[in-house]
């Protein structure tokens, strides 16, 4: 054999080994179908616990599209790789997960593999759910299997290019999936540890608040640095938190449980739905999450230097943005000015609202244009939407005015783009 021939054979062998390794990594056995267990076979306290966990993880946030068909899937999640459709997770034997054993469910939660062995896309946050305890996963299974089975499959997810080939997710898992429960941190309280398991696991807070790399994986080196989700900016929950007042466990508990923190702001955008779900979760779970997340912000500027005196640079703002000053007086002041009825009820002053202090105007602009509108029948912080009342230019001016008046930070540079994006 020539030297060239030997090299060719060698390369071929290495390639073959690589392919074999990839196949081994990407191949997962199908787990046998089961007959859906009778709902009565589950302990009802266990089921109730699973219900709390499902709300804590906001399963319905993605898996419910039509409120009359809870958990039947169909909602599209826009990702940089294409639309991922949430699947039917009711116990329907063919269209949902009725034929899934507890073992199959646990494998999906911990490793992102469906009962039939196919890879799930990490839009389903199994990179977080993998940190749940066995007990939590079993309780969640008990709750899901006792829901009403609903027929109908979600549209097929078809991602473009290489991402359309599901086995590539195996490589993603090898790189980014840190499988299994989190070891307890003995130097912290049991409440903190409980909060950590809930927040890092089923709560999947990092899913929105941690930036992702080009492969859509959370960049752990920048955990909780703030990130984009559905056009909204989920602010940093670490030392970079732009909050003006400190996020204490009590403030954070109020925020997560009611959607409103008296020294911060009202939950808006995707977070509003999260707080509506958390409103139904037992206090001690939400409090544990608050203790854990507040600890991440212990080194944030507000935690070190509280600024209890609200910034109000009325004269400067009036001078720089005279048109917006009149707009504010007519459209905003009836609720937001000191002494307004709403302020008497203990609503946060604008200068404490986190959105105005963020590095970008997107949240401010979206709140102005879309308002805060709890869905029919739900209660929560309310604000009218101004998209139809104000022109793009007026929203831009108003955002600039608010930034000047209620913060001492430099003006935003990209307000027109934020308005155009929110107008879409």
């Amino acid at each position: 054999m020539t030297r060239g021939g030997a090299l060719a054979v060698g390369i071929l062998l290495v390639c073959a080994a690589g392919v074999a390794a990839a196949v081994a990594l990407a191949w997962h056995p199908e787990i046998d179908r089961i007959t859906p267990p009778a709902p009565g076979s589950f302990d009802r306290y266990f089921v109730a616990e699973g219900e709390d966990l499902a709300k804590l993880g906001n399963c319905a946030g993605c898996h419910t599209n039509d409120p009359s068909e809870p958990l039947a899937g169909g909602r599209a999640l826009d990702t940089p790789f294409g639309k991922v459709f949430a699947t039917n997770i009711t116990p329907h034997p063919d269209d949902g997960i009725g034929a899934w054993s507890g073992e199959a469910f646990e494998r999906a939660m911990r490793r992102g593999i469906a009962r039939d062995g196919t890879q799930l896309y990490p839009a389903f946050p199994y990179d977080h759910f993998t940190h749940a305890t066995d007990h939590q996963i079993e309780a969640l299974y008990a709750w899901l299997m006792t829901r009403r089975p609903i027929a109908g499959r979600a549209p097929e997810t078809r991602l473009a290019g290489i991402y359309g080939f599901r086995p590539v997710v195996a490589a993603w898992n090898a790189l980014y999936l840190n499988e299994g429960p989190l070891p307890a941190d003995a130097s912290r309280s049991s409440q903190w540890n409980r909060g950590r398991v809930l927040a890092e696991g089923l709560g999947h807070c990092g899913g929105c608040h941690t930036p992702r790399n080009r492969f859509g994986a959370e960049d752990i080196a920048r955990a909780y640095n703030g990130a984009w989700t559905e056009g909204w900016y989920a602010p940093p929950l670490n030392a970079h938190s732009p909050a003006v007042r400190p996020w204490t466990p009590d403030e954070l508990f109020a925020y997560l449980h009611t959607g409103l923190a008296p020294h911060h702001a009202a939950a808006a955008g995707p977070m509003a739905g999260v707080t509506r779900a958390l409103a139904q979760v037992p206090d001690e779970d939400v409090r544990a999450i608050a203790v854990y997340i507040a600890s991440l912000m212990a080194d944030a500027p507000a935690s070190k230097h509280d600024q209890p005196q609200p910034v109000d640079r009325l004269d400067v703002a009036q001078q720089q943005h005279p048109d917006a000053a009149a707009l504010y007086a007519g459209a905003c002041a009836t609720c937001h000015d000191p002494g307004a009825p709403m302020m008497q009820l203990g609503r946060p002053v604008l200068s404490w609202g986190t959105p105005l202090h963020e590095d970008n105007p997107h949240d401010t602009v979206r709140i102005i244009m879309q308002g805060l509108t709890p869905p029919g029948g739900a209660s929560g912080p309310t604000m009218p939407a101004y998209a139809d009342m104000l022109s793009d230019q007026q929203v831009q001016d108003l955002a600039a005015y608010l930034r000047t008046r209620f913060t001492d930070k430099p003006a935003w540079s990209n307000v027109p783009a934020a308005v155009a994006e929110a107008r879409k």
Binding site: D323, A326, L327, A329, G330, A331, T334, C335, P341, M342, G376, T382, M383, P384, Y386, D388, M389, L390, S391, Q394
Partner: protein, 157 residues
């Protein structure tokens, strides 16, 4: 002086730029259909159309209107008011002008909405007497009179 166009007529008013459109309509133009309810954009009694979109006129500073055209109940066709009358949808009547104006915006855009679309569209407007069911009947009646009709839930599927 601030210029505005209401129900197809141009007006000039001498008011502060931050004056709510609602005050100008009622106090300066004597168009009294839109009502002051809460002043906070939470009840809908002040609803008027701004370029075909329903808005709370209590929160629209008059100087922000620019070229945009305002329509109030006084300038609308009589189809919806007649339907509200036929269904006896008013009890105290305070919310009705706002209700009619909001319904007008929907039916102009879509004369064949679903029941769910009607309900979610009308949701921002409150009726303190609780005649919402009659109001919904009036909207359905008007939709039919306009050559469309509200599709019921069964028909959607």
């Amino acid at each position: 002086m601030i210029k505005l166009t209401v129900n197809g007529r141009a007006h000039q008013v001498d008011v502060d730029p931050d004056t709510p459109l609602l005050y100008v309509l009622r106090n300066d133009l004597e168009l009294n259909a839109a009502k002051f309810g809460c002043g906070l954009g939470q009840c809908g009694a002040c609803t008027v159309l701004l370029d075909d979109k329903p808005v709370f006129s209590c929160l629209v500073p008059v100087a922000t209107l620019g070229e945009r055209k305002v329509r109030t109940l006084e300038g609308l066709p009589k189809t919806l008011p007649a339907a509200f009358e036929a269904e006896q949808a008013a009890q105290c009547g305070y919310c009705i002008a706002g209700m009619i104006v909001r319904a007008q915006a929907l039916l102009e855009r879509n004369a064949r909405p679903t029941e769910e679309e009607v309900r979610s569209h009308m949701a921002p407007n409150l009726c303190r007497c609780g005649t919402h069911m009659r109001i919904l009947r009036a909207v359905r009646r008007a939709a039919e009179a306009m050559g469309g009709g509200v599709r019921d839930v069964a028909e959607q599927k």
